[in-house]
Amino acid sequence: MKSFTKITSKIIPLPHIDVDTDQIIPARYLKVINKDGLAEGLFDSWRRLPDGSPNPDFPLNQDEYQGAQILLAGDNFGCGSSREHAPWALTGWGIRAIISTSFADIFRNNALKNGLLPIVVSESTQTSLFDLTEESPSATTDIDLASQTLSLPDGSSVSFEIDSFSKTCLLEGIDQLGYLLKHDEQIAAFEESRLKV
């Protein structure tokens, strides 16, 4: 997994609540047997007009946001399907962190396994961030995972929560499977003990 330490980026605003994983990447893109090319399908139906041409109003199509790594979204981001293609599509496009007031459980788990940082902020921080993206779209925000801080362009900073295990995995780019496999003996012992019941 790609490690996550610090990023500095513009914030892409996506002011919708309940963005579901079918919007992040529609099912027609799920026939792949690897992780390549999914960025092509990211927000497909919002990014493209019915005739297939780019929708100029959608932020991912605007010059301003090319290369941006932070997405700011409404409440309950990533609800619906468990498809890990959603974080693969987001990171494939270049997104490394998403800020919202809450995330759906499965999406959050999937994001953390792909070097994609879900940051939960209060409603007031979310509102001021949306205001900021409107007033000065090119302003940049710093995210520092080690100190768990967001540093906003106006000089203020906001801290965010993350469990220590996910934090270590992200900082060091560790695949969680390694941790599980280190417990092989305990897993075997558990299996043994249940046979006896």
Partner: protein, 467 residues
Amino acid sequence: MTNPKTLYEKLWESHIVAESDDAPSILYIDLHLVHEVTSPQAFSGLREKGLKVRCPERTIATMDHSTPTISLSLDSADDMAIAQLEQITKNCADFGITLYDAESDGRGIVHVIGPEQGFTQPGKTIVCGDSHTSTHGAFGALAFGIGTSEVEHVLASQSLLQTKSKTYEVKFEGELPFGVTAKDMILALIAKIGIGGGTGHVFEFTGDAIKALDMDGRMTVCNMAIEAGARAGMIAPDETTFAYLKGRPHAPKGDAWDAAVANWRQLPSDEGAVYDKSVTIDVSALTPMVTYGTNPEMGIPINERIPSLNTGDAAEQSALSKALKYMDLSADEPLKGHPVDVVFIGSCTNSRMSDLRAAASILKGRKVADGMRLLVVPGSETIRHQAEAEGIDKIVRDAGGEWRFAGCSMCLAMNGDELEPGQYAVSTSNRNFEGRQGKGGRTILASPLTAAASAITGKVTDPRELM
């Protein structure tokens, strides 16, 4: 006396392999269900790391999402779907996993065949790379959806890193009125608490109205727990559960059956067990439900009007107007009577025998409206055979509908069964997200009774008018 425990707490505690202060718990997984869409990258991960599948005997695979439903052969599938289906065939062969493939009689939607074959049992931890794994909770199992990285974790270690969820009691009291079903119960709950209402929680569905449901109905309710954001939905096992499982191909037999039932009887939540949250719904006040928007919480009783644009806070108002724009529907208008182009009866929510029988009870001796496309897709090949033995295929065809082979079909529109842009569908599936049933398609979620009634009239219809 020890602390009274909930069903969820009992399952959680009995599956902990290891606990630590600086990492999530390691939870043992009894049954891992696998399908073609969310597993290929997990098997590639195993190959790259030189790992095996730890317990092939606890792993069951099927093909359901990208398989055609117009024939049993894969000839009509597109090249990418064929590549995906060939990949799961190879992965299962290489790693020694049982696969219910295209020609298998037991093939079907993953959440339909697990219970049907008797793999799903009370007290088990069950996962699948699929959010509707919550369905299996109807048997008193702890069942939840996982991502593909976690699929790889379970294949390699038969366990998962998990943090304990909070508990949420959803009590359905009273008696269901005529024409109102399990689907209406769960749609009413989601409309009440919202699609994020269960986030971080595991639901336990309790109350007389739950006990009165058959297993098919209980599965419908648990299936959509995820649509309220819950990690899982569970129902305590009882005589109805045991009667369903007894004699199923993979259920315990003989003495093992008696021992299993004795264990299962210990699972229900103890008297006095405490939940972190609770809600009660009186089902005797429910009517058939329909959705008008682009997520499952945007639902109303069929005789009510679509909400006003000034409902809720600013974010909700903006979501409502975005949804109504997509649906091309108006606030404050009734949805009943709105023209419908397609009716889809199927999906892991409502494709079991009792769902098909309910739909057939309305379709029998009638014809679908002019221009209506009715698609009926059984949840498994076993169900298809049984329905055909009962003559349901004939009822559907005589009414002018299409009778298909088993699969996910138009629930997620990956296999060519899809809506055209702008079409309205009344669908018994679980998600009305934008484009879920085909790009630009508009989904109205409802019960099999409501769907069948709408197919006959060509409009969103209260099924009680045809019963």
